[in-house]
Symmetry: C2
Subunit: 161 residues, 2 copies
């Protein structure tokens, strides 16, 4: 399992330009947000996240909206990173690529314990021009708790007006 | 459009017993959380929510995880309220009914403006024993921004241990 051994490695989200780094889920500049960090581990992307005590559903378990948020932002980050890879480009080259979510599906397989470090792993299922499909799993204590699928598309220009 | 004219009406979530009222999305006792409130409006359930400035995706727009969270918690609340209705029970009668999410699907149809009051409306598509399917829409400025579907199931007893 990858454990950020290489502290010099930047996360996908560290490459987002400042004006695209304000997302509550994944923006490094959103001080209220989750600030998730995603990395390649071979062909998979991985993100570790420690829920905060108030991210409860009922006491002891993580609320579903956090799980959806983690899967969503990890997947759009993976979509961007995979597209840079497919174009043989480093993530700090211009123009920046950002993806938004067209659809999100999450199957909640078992209650997710809140004290655990969560591991979200993504795999690119389809990468075709402006659309990338990412399948993700979310595990706690090495048990699979949720499965997700995100259809990500390149951010429309009108969002950047 | 419903505008909480009747301030004496309690929201679905106001009936949750204290130990089930800590959810980040919908628990009235989670001081860090969203504390959404859902009500019947005829056969539809409705919830109004004002995003906070830090709930951004990119500046000006709501991040998808919030939209997923609102649809999720509004739908599980609707599932509970609909089941009380189907059983001809008031929501303050014992035993309490709470639902958890088995699956969540969201289609993001257009960017959701962050300054707008969001309206989430739910309709019960299926109510069968321990399983309820709720279809929801999320609108801003009367424009449809997202569509969701939640499969909710009665909370398993082991979650209440």
């Amino acid at each position: 399992m990858r454990v950020n051994g290489d502290m010099t490695q930047l996360a996908f989200q560290d490459y987002y330009p400042d004006q695209l780094a304000l997302c509550y889920g994944c923006g490094r500049l959103n001080e209220h947000g989750l600030q998730i960090k995603s990395y390649w581990e071979g062909e998979e992307s991985v993100c570790l996240f420690q829920p905060r005590p108030y991210h409860t559903a009922i006491p002891g378990y993580v609320y579903g909206g956090l799980i959806a948020s983690l899967i969503d932002c990890h997947s759009t980050g993976t979509a961007a990173a995979a597209t840079y890879r497919a174009q043989n480009r480093a993530m700090d080259t211009e123009p920046p690529l950002r993806f938004v979510t067209a659809s999100l599906h999450v199957d909640y397989l078992r209650p997710t314990p809140i004290e655990a470090m969560l591991t979200i792993r993504g795999v690119v299922k389809e990468l075709k021009g402006r659309k990338v499909v990412v399948a993700s799993t979310l595990s706690a204590h090495d048990e699979l708790c949720a499965r997700g699928e995100v259809v990500a598309v390149v951010m429309p220009d009108e969002m950047l007006k």
